[in-house]
């Protein structure tokens, strides 16, 4: 369980997070969404203890994060970073094995059991074929899969993932999130920063939207994943449909809207139209007409 109260954090000179309060219970699968620079990665960094908050408090499983030893924290939270730049040609297996480091004593060596767990993690992420290749010599997507394997090998109750599927093709994206869903069903708490709204809606049952360092929306996916909300947050025209199989909401952004609205009407506030769209949310027929390009003038008219 992670609880954050009134968190302010940032780097020297700039404040990124401005008053975040968030509670994620054990066993939740939460997607953190928001435009570039909204503070998603900073939030991950503060939750994993890498960045000290300027003010506010964070509790990890009931303990204030500052009171947890770095080593102790790494047994409770595993983090998959957005990008890894590794300076030396470690084999992919060695990288995965590093995930076992928190469980090895200060002077100890990796045991046979650690190696077995690392191999299992590689097996479940389908990266066994990479095990003997240097991490500096695999593709960006493959390196990301190895990072996922490393995080699995860490065997923590909480997983923080920062854009971990950004370099992956569709089948690998789905495979990673299917795997995460299975882990979530087994009790893991998963918090995943994502840019892919539709992927988030498919897999996460709760979404948190950040913008300008504040939480704009937080709630069950079906309640917050709505046209007016997304339009306001991303300042782009959007239509919602429902996934034919899972019935999850899916967003479709309308091309050309952003530049046109800005050019024609610099004072345009997409927010203003929110309520008028709200009523039509459950009428898919309306949306179909509006997505066609020739009707873009209609959209602008409403603005």
């Amino acid at each position: 369980m992670i609880e954050i109260m009134d968190l302010y954090a940032g780097y020297s000179g700039s404040e990124i997070l401005k008053g975040i309060s968030l509670k994620v219970n054990s066993g939740e699968m939460v997607g953190i969404l928001g435009p570039n620079g909204s503070g998603k990665t900073t939030l991950i960094n503060t939750m994993s203890g890498v960045l000290k908050p300027k003010s506010g408090k964070i509790w990890i499983n009931g303990t204030v994060i500052d009171e947890l030893e770095i080593h102790e924290l790494s047994k409770q939270i595993a983090v998959a970073p957005q990008k890894t730049e590794i300076s030396f040609p470690f084999k992919c297996f060695s990288i995965t094995l590093m995930g076992r480091s928190p469980h090895v004593g200060k002077w100890g060596f990796y045991s046979e059991n650690d190696k077995r767990i690392a191999l299992e993690a590689m097996n479940s992420t389908n990266t066994l074929k990479l095990s003997e290749r240097p991490i500096t010599n695999v593709s960006g997507g493959e390196a990301q899969m190895v990072t996922v394997a490393r995080v699995l090998a860490q065997q923590t109750g909480i997983l923080l993932l920062d854009e971990v599927t950004s370099n992956l093709d569709v089948s690998h994206k789905m495979a990673v999130f299917d795997l995460l869903t299975r882990m979530n069903l087994q009790g893991a708490t998963i918090i995943s920063v994502m840019h892919d709204l539709n992927l988030a809606a498919l897999y996460c049952n709760r979404l948190v939207f950040l913008k300008n360092g504040k939480i704009l929306l937080d709630g069950p996916t079906n309640e917050v994943f709505q046209q007016n909300n997304l339009r306001e947050i991303y300042e782009t025209e959007v239509q919602i449909s429902f996934h034919p199989v899972t019935k999850s909401p899916q967003a479709h952004f309308v091309p050309g809207f952003f530049s046109r609205s800005r050019l024609n009407n610099p004072n345009c506030e997409p927010k203003a139209s929110g309520s008028s769209f709200d009523n039509r949310r459950h009428k898919p027929t309306d949306k179909v007409t509006k997505t066609s390009p020739k009707n873009n003038s209609l959209v602008r008219g409403i603005q």
Binding site: I77, V79, I86, F90, S101, L128
Partner: protein, 361 residues
């Protein structure tokens, strides 16, 4: 789900790698022992190997030295063996220090020389001599290594300060800062030595390195620094592996990043300072040995430290043999000339041939 054949195959490969490492360690250890004996028998007055061994063994009391005359024993044990052992220790220290700097700074091109630490140590030592502190001792420690360590640390922190941007150390600007600091301090050494009205040869000694006239006493005062440095660096082998992932990720895997960095930087600086205070600045050993090892057994720091230490020993033993025998009439070359002449082209070859594998890219 399980693919036993694949797992067995991986296990087999790891077993092979482990065997190769053990084999390399044993053979390099044997080579360095043989090198010590051979190097001691080579010199202006040639002594055959059996007399050399008898002199060495009699001096440490293993057998009687009746068959060898007194002069030979003195030449072998006090002059040659002491110098060979000292060069072995310095070679080990510089290589381990290079591997540690590369690991902690996540910079494959870092080594005591390229980041200015060696020259800082040499400057500290020349200041100690300039102010006449060379003969002073404090609690059994000579002052030269003390000031040399301070110089090394001062140079290191200057370089770190210069390469620190926005609270973080930028590794790409580090080597640049190192070169600037090294050049500046090199000039200061020349200035101090000129003011002291010393000969050009003493400037050359500090800037290019030499073991001329060095013996057991020098080994004695360098050894504590080398041992402390070695311990500080080696206990963090696994942390260094994790830190190649970057500071944040290392911390998320349970490494106390700032403590590890402090200890490894101080440890590697002590290794450098101990070496430089007895031998001057010797380049390239700390750069080439770790790269060679990474190409053979991979970048794992535990193995890296052991094998580069051994390779550094052997390399510097033979470089010093070259330094004292290549010129006629007992003239000596600075040993840094030999290491640069051998190490430079060798390193270029590595750079060119195996960019990806050596991680220089």
């Amino acid at each position: 789900m399980h693919q036993p054949s694949r797992l067995d195959l991986i296990e087999l490969q790891h077993e092979k790698a482990r065997k190769r490492f053990v084999l390399l360690t044993i053979s390099l250890t044997l080579i360095s022992i043989v090198s010590v004996a051979l190097a001691s028998s080579i010199g202006r007055v040639p002594v055959n190997l059996s007399d050399t061994l008898r002199s060495i063994f009699s001096a440490v009391g293993i057998c009687s030295g009746d068959h060898v005359d007194e002069t030979t024993r003195t030449v072998i044990f006090d002059l040659r063996l002491s110098r060979v052992v000292l060069s072995a220790c310095v070679g080990m220290a510089l290589s381990v220090s290079g591997a540690a700097f590369q690991g902690i700074l996540r910079n494959p091109l870092a080594d005591p020389f390229t980041i200015g630490v060696s020259t800082g140590a040499a400057f500290g030592a020349s200041l100690a001599i300039f102010f006449g502190a060379a003969s002073l001792t404090f609690a059994g420690f000579g002052f030269i290594p003390v000031l040399s360590s301070l110089g090394a640390l001062a140079a290191l922190f200057t370089v770190l300060f210069l390469s620190r941007v926005d609270g973080r150390v930028r590794r790409d600007t580090m080597v640049l800062a190192g070169i600037v600091v090294a050049t500046f301090l090199g000039a200061l050494i020349s200035l101090v030595k000129s003011l002291d009205e010393e000969s050009v040869s003493s400037i050359v000694f500090w800037v290019m390195g030499s073991f001329q006239g060095r013996g057991w006493s020098h080994l004695g005062f360098a050894l504590p620094y080398l041992i402390i440095g070695l311990v500080l660096v080696v206990i963090h082998s696994r942390d260094l592996d994790l830190m190649t992932l970057g500071d944040s990720q290392a911390q998320q895997l349970g490494v106390d990043v700032s403590k590890t960095r402090r200890r490894v930087l101080i440890g590697a600086s002590l290794l450098t300072a101990g070496s430089v205070s007895v031998s001057g600045v010797i380049g390239f050993v700390g750069l080439v040995a770790p790269h060679l090892v990474r190409l053979t057994v991979g970048p794992d720091h535990g193995r890296l430290f052991i094998l580069s230490g051994l390779i550094g020993m052997i390399a510097l033993i033979w470089s010093d043999v070259g330094a004292r025998t290549l010129l006629p009439e007992g003239e000596e070359l600075p040993v840094g000339v030999i290491t640069a002449l051998l190490g430079g082209p060798f390193f270029c070859l590595l750079l060119k041939k195996r960019r990806v594998e050596s991680g220089i890219d």
